[in-house]
């Protein structure tokens, strides 16, 4: 899946014509399908370190759009398996080092296309090997997770570990209690969470921290009124949401804020109509794809978060999304046995 941006641009002005306030479903499907035909562009190669994440983003968008077969399943599985290393971890593309973030995307893709058994049969390791790779990245003293053997920690990695392990039903491989305590240590005076203890609250980090607590079934630890207030304050008058005070609105932050609100049961605290209109203004209704905000070039990353956002606020015709995993709800229900 290419991470090349464009060719389209989100519409610049207005967004008031009836056809501009409709989600251009067919156009988005075509846009995502076209991404892999763009291998003659340098940007395709410069974004190779995000390839596997890109497949997850594109695939998830297609499932939510109701076109789960728009990417060939066999090739998708082959590509994912080709990114695996002997230690169980996945890189973003063949020849790249394994890392937590790519490993999570690999698991999410395989679960979405219901192909964990292919991993079992043909992977460098089966699912238990993947689970062990993730588990050894936990610091057993403080509960945090590194992204790779170099030891950098980030609450994104902790969430990724809980995310992938729960999808494979291997949460028992790690110390969940300590992971939860580490998330608690990242809570801030304003009700939000940061990347590490003491770091500034940030919508993306709040999403991963609250998501980790949701998977661990410890949302009781969240001060929901205070966090919900901070999150709902992210909505600007144009309807879009930002990630921190005094920053610009952005479709991806809109997703992280609203999914966090959904997890704590406060999604009603934002104006859904205004948000829906903002997201639709970020699409290119002609060539497909979505951008961070109106006027900018589209890319697959903002496309999936825009579509997932619309799904979460009940835009008609979309498959329901799971706010914790950002995957189709029915896929997650099947995987975790809800």
């Amino acid at each position: 899946m290419s991470l090349v941006s464009g060719p389209g641009r989100a519409q610049v002005a207005g967004g008031n014509l009836p056809n501009e306030l409709q989600l251009a479903v067919e156009k988005h499907v075509k846009y995502i399908q076209s991404l892999d035909t763009r291998k003659d562009e340098l940007e395709y190669w410069l974004t190779e370190h995000l390839r596997l994440n890109g497949v997850y983003w594109g695939l998830t968008a297609l499932h939510l759009l109701g076109h789960p077969d728009a990417l060939p399943r066999h090739e998708t599985v082959e590509f994912v398996l080709s990114c695996q290393h002997d230690n169980g971890g996945f890189g973003p593309a063949p020849g790249h080092d394994p890392h937590m973030l790519y490993t999570v995307s690999a698991v999410q893709i395989l679960v979405t296309v219901d192909a964990l058994d292919e991993l079992e049969k043909r992977g460098k390791t089966g699912r238990e090997g993947v689970g062990r790779y993730i588990a050894q990245l936990q610091d057993r003293d403080d509960g945090s997770f590194a992204g790779d053997e170099w030891g950098e920690t980030d609450t994104r990695f902790l969430f990724g570990a809980l995310n992938a392990l729960s999808l494979m039903r291997l949460l028992s491989y790690i110390d969940v209690t300590k992971a939860v305590a580490y998330v608690q240590a990242c809570a801030n005076f304003d009700g939000g969470y940061g990347v590490s203890p003491g770091a500034e609250s940030h919508a993306g980090q709040i999403f991963v921290c609250v998501g980790a607590l949701a998977i661990a079934d410890r949302l009781d630890l969240v001060d929901k009124d205070r966090l919900g207030s901070w999150l709902s304050e992210r909505q600007l008058n144009n309807g879009g949401l930002n990630g921190r005070p005094e920053k610009l609105e952005d479709v991806c932050y809109s997703w992280w804020v609203m999914s966090s609100l959904a997890m704590i049961g406060k999604l009603g605290w934002i104006d859904k109509d205004k948000l829906s209109k903002f997201i639709l203004q970020c699409q290119d209704p002609e060539l497909g794809g979505m951008a961070d905000r109106p006027g900018d070039a589209v890319d697959v990353f903002h496309t999936v978060f825009g579509i997932a956002g619309l799904s979460l606020i009940g835009y008609p015709g979309l498959k329901p999304v799971d706010p914790i995993y950002c995957m189709p709800l029915e896929v997650v229900n099947r995987a975790v046995g809800r």
Binding site: D40, L42, W45, L46, T47, E48, H49, L50, E75, E78, F79, S82, C83, G91, A93, P94, G95, D97, H99, D139, D141, D142, G143, D148, W150, E152, A181, Y182, Q184, A185, C186, A187, N188, F189, D190, G194, V195, S196, P197, G198, A199, E200, S201, H202, G228, S229, S232, E233, Q235, N237, R244, P245, E246, K247, K266, G268, W269, I270, D271, K274
Partner: protein, 327 residues
Amino acid sequence: MGRYSEAEEWADITPIAQNDGGPNPLAAIAYTEEYSEAMGYFRAVTARNENSERVLDLTEHIISMNPAHYTIWLYRANTIFELQQTNGSDLQDDILEELQWLDNLSLKHLKNYQIWHHRQTLMTRLDRIPPTELAFLAQMFAKDAKNYHVWSYRQWLVRRFALWDTELPYTESLLAADVRNNSAWNHRWFVLFGQHVDPRSGKGLDELGHIVDEDLLDREVGYTEDKIRLAPQNQSPWNYLRGLLRKRGSLVECKAFAEEFVGDVEGEGEGCRSSHALDFYADCMAEEKEAEKAGKALELLAKRFDPIRRNYWNYRRGLLGLGAVQA
């Protein structure tokens, strides 16, 4: 023809072509020649596990084309450390040289985060902070005073080298330049209340009551009030103020302060200069069991000053036993 294929220095290396693992071999694609060639040599040196000066040149070249390529950075860091072992050179000098190169690159690629990971990996090996480090970070903040990667690196640095004493005046200078800099407000909290915190588990941080120094709280409340007066409609210091007062368990000591900005709160809110002040005032009134007065402030927020969050304000009214209002 190419930078490497024609160089004497690289004559012993046969580049390894890209294999994307999928069903369609990509050998034929028109990948730009320069990047493609360099990557071919990179694959070859990693296959031989070579750590040499020329690997530093090669990785520098690739990073100049693609600073986000995470594997290149890892290999480069490893090469620096391996080379120092084999040459017996001065690690401190090697790292300072690398940092200098990184400085320029960081100023060019503001959103790249691999650069900061690399910098931290290098800094871990030093016993003292290089004298130019903070000046360099000041240059970064001059370009973007809210850069999240730079802030989290700075917090790591403060803990690593115990820079607590000089950080407080630094947050003051940042807030003097921009009183709305939420990152600077957060850093101020970190410096004042994060100092005695276990850096790994975070134990001691937040309102667990570990550090409640009344004089410090008084000073911070005064400082924050002064900053709010400069720009009353600024959520960061209001959040900071609430954080301080939560350590004492009550907001009402600042009720009169909030009243400076709420305007005609019994009427239609004429003269209101801050929705955050109204919000704060409503909480003070709720604390004092003045549900009607609190409810009126919340109504003004829902109807006039922050209608986009009407549902939230109505939820707050509900907590006081009051009905919802329409925008």
